[in-house]
Structure formats: C-alpha cells, structure tokens
Assembly symmetry: C2
Homo-oligomer: 284 residues x 2
Amino acid sequence: MKTYLDCIPCFFRQALAAARMSSEDETIHRRVLNSIALMIPDLALSATPPEIARQVYRVVYEITGNSDPYYETKNSANQAALSLYSRMQDTVDYSNDPLLTACRLSIAGNDIDLGAQAEFGSINSIIEDSLVFDLDQKNYTKFKENVAKANLILYIGDNAGETVFDRILIEQILQIKNLKIVFVVREKPIINDATFEDAIRVGLDKVATIISSGSDAPATILSQCSSEMLSLYQSADVIISKGQGNYESLSGRSENIFFLFKVKCSVIARDSNLAIDSPVLTHS
Amino acid sequence: MKTYLDCIPCFFRQALAAARMSSEDETIHRRVLNSIALMIPDLALSATPPEIARQVYRVVYEITGNSDPYYETKNSANQAALSLYSRMQDTVDYSNDPLLTACRLSIAGNDIDLGAQAEFGSINSIIEDSLVFDLDQKNYTKFKENVAKANLILYIGDNAGETVFDRILIEQILQIKNLKIVFVVREKPIINDATFEDAIRVGLDKVATIISSGSDAPATILSQCSSEMLSLYQSADVIISKGQGNYESLSGRSENIFFLFKVKCSVIARDSNLAIDSPVLTHS
C-alpha cells in the first residue's frame, strides 16, 4: 500500500508523541518536528506508510537519544494483558466456537497500538469489545480450513501486550492441529511493537518458535527482512499478519496471508472500505 | 494564546483539506504540503494558532490559485441554516428562557467550522444538540446582566451559516434592550469564515451594523484590524466573541469579552479544561 498525503499530518503527530515520551524538553520536541518537516519534500510516497514511519521514528530516537521510549508502556501492556490471560482462556474455552472467539480476541488485542492512535482503552474493555465483533463469515471459514490443513504457520506479531492475545489464538490453533508455528517480532524497539523480549515475557516461546523479522520497521518490509524470515515466509502454508503496519506492507501480496487487525485511521478505512474501529479478518 | 506543537500536524491536515477543496490534482496537494513543511522550522510559536493558520491558508490559496475554496460550502451552510431560521425562532420563543436558548443555539452554530475540524453534522442535528447544552450558570447570569446594561455590543462572528444562529441571538438581545450591535466579519475569504457577503445573505444587516475586521485572519488579531474596528472594540460595552479562532486570539485580554464557542481540538480542550465537543460560554 502506498503512502497517502493524509499520512503526513499523522507522521508529525506520531513524532511529537514519541518525542514527548522520550523527553520533557519542548525545544527537543520542536527540533524533532523541524527535522521531520525537512524530510517531507523528499518523501517517496510510493513507499508504504510504515517504511516512512520507520524513518520518522529513527529521527525521533536520534534527536532525543532514547531508542526505546515506549519501554515502560510495553512492559505495562504485557503485565496488564498477562493478568487477564486466564480470563481470556476461560472466555475461549466456554464459547460456542473457541477458534472464532480466539480470533476475535486476537483482533481486539490489536487495539494496543500507539502508532496509528494516541492511546488505547483498558485491556479489560478491549476484551469486552471483542465479544460483540462481527467478522466476515466467509473469511473466517477460509481461515479455519486453511489452519486445519497447515503444517507451518508464520504468525507476524504487532504490539507488545497484544502478544498475550496472540498466544490465546496460537493455543487455540494448536488444539485443532499440532503444527509448527513461528512467531515474528521486530528486530529492534520501534513504537510499542513487540520485540523478542516482549514475546518471551508473555510466554510465547512456550507455544511457538520466536524469530526476529530482521528489520526494525513497524511492519514487514520484505526487502529488509533476514534470510531466515524470508525463507519461512516463502515456505509457510499460512501467514497470519497482525495489525495495520503489517497490512500496509503486505496487502496486495499473493501469498496465503490472513490479515487480522483493527482499523485505526481514515487512510486504512478508505483502503479497506470499513469504518474506523472495525475489526478485520481478511484474506490476501 | 500561543501555538502549541500539537497545532503543527493540524496545520498540515487543514492545508491538505483546503488544497483538496481547490483542486483534484494530487501533485498540487503535494506541493502545498511541501511548502507548509518548509515553513515549519521558522514558525514563531509565540504567535497565536490563527495567525499561523492565516499564513498556511495563504500558501494554499497561492499555490492552488483559488482564493475562496470554501465558497460553495459557505453558500450551502448559509442556505441550510436559513431554511431552519423560523424553526430556531420558534424554539427560542417557546422556551422558558429565550436568551439562554438563543445563546445555546449560537454556540451550537459554531459547529459549522471547517478549520479545526474536517466536517460538521447536519444543521438539524446541530440545533437538536443545542437543546441539551449545559452552560456555566454564573457566566450566563453575568452575560445577561452585561447585555441588559450595554449600549453598544461588538459581536465578532466566525463561520458562514453560523451567522444565522448569531442572528437569532442578536434578535433576542434586541428584545431585551434596543441597543446598537455591530457585527464583525473577515475582510477576505478565509476557510469557511463569514465575510460581508455571507452576513448580508442571512440578513444580519437587518439587525446589526456589519463591518469588516480589516484583516483576513480567521481570528481577531488586533494588530491587523482596521482603525474602525479597533475604535469599536475599545468603546463597546460588551464584546461577544464567537468561535475558537477569536478565542485563541483574544483570550487573556482585559476587555469585557464573552466567548461563545464549541471546543474542537485537544489544544483548546487542554487550555479551557473542557472535553472536546463541549459548549462554552466564558468571560474574559
């Protein structure tokens, strides 16, 4: 997906939010915005939004000297989501269609995003919201069928904390079939995206093999990924792509990808023909 | 009120919206954003937001070659509001406190704003919403007392269409006391702010003397106003200031100003300690 001009105000908003997370010094915040402004005339809008976002955040991290401003936020999200892990398990176990409920929870968990939006609600309300999600029935059936016959699933994660919701879905998939699942995290901290450390903290290593994408983009930019990641990407029977960033970088690809995310901005709303806040389970 | 760094993403959003109103050519939209980007490093944040917005819109108008992109939008808003004029009159006449109802309507009419927000609801829903407004009782009592003893009121308008709501309030004030009311419009088209033509179209000349501020800012920047405007500003017993732009440029002044507006962005929400969408009747 290309970058729209509407993304430009959003890059400034995100840069300011990240700068404020890093420093209380307004002159530093201003320097950050000035530097982003100077990048604008040279931006190639043919790049995907997360490719540009990656450059934007790198500028923020360089100027503020803080390469992981969301470190505490990610830890809190991991802890908050973990504290509700058994409740989520119960919700899934006692539902009519556990896999569907686990999908809904995984999509709801994508609300824990501090890139496309400035804040998110309580983990508790995120779980509650998931119970009333209407997902596309045809896509869900296709997802169920594909999962049932897969031997290798590449599960590309998005945010820290959301990983607990992902663990719930992965456990549910493993109840259907004992297959190999590889969970992909970002190579380095970027926004509040999950890194290796975040995945370990929520015990994803107990249910999946965790690998880094090899890239520090808040997305899956294949040209920046490691050969290990690319090889798994090519050989996986099913790819589960979580979140807007991965959608923005992988939509339009021909692999067998299921995109699970929540719509968080007007650009994706227009692109997906859905309202902001809609839960999405769609197929490439 | 000074400009906050949060205003910077908003300037880009507004510039893009205005560029799209003027032209369908994406390369022109891009040129607009590039030009705004080049302005950022030199922006003096000590200026008020509408002072900077004025510069931003002037760049948009220069690049697109359209000096009044909201012309049709303003006409539609004038027409739509005018078609509900007698309904608004009835609403006021049959209410327990007609002046309060007219204040509520006038504040609700401030929703017809395309600067701080991308769109507004139907004029019908704007009227409905006003009926449940909770206004600060102390400020309203002060407003009522001040109006009752005034001989000259300077009423500084904001948007086209909103002017019909202003006419309703002015008529109500004139029922309390037959005093002189001067209604101030912008010197030239800027966003969807009311100009002389817009005021005439909704018959404001039947109830007030209409003058231009002498400035094309979407606000009241005294250093840019005409001597006629400044003289009335100094001699008025009461000043009624409509909308965020006038508030941003006049808040903190010592004159007897009543600010009537709706909170439309996080910066004003923080400044006024009110939630976005709140109706405001406050005193300088």
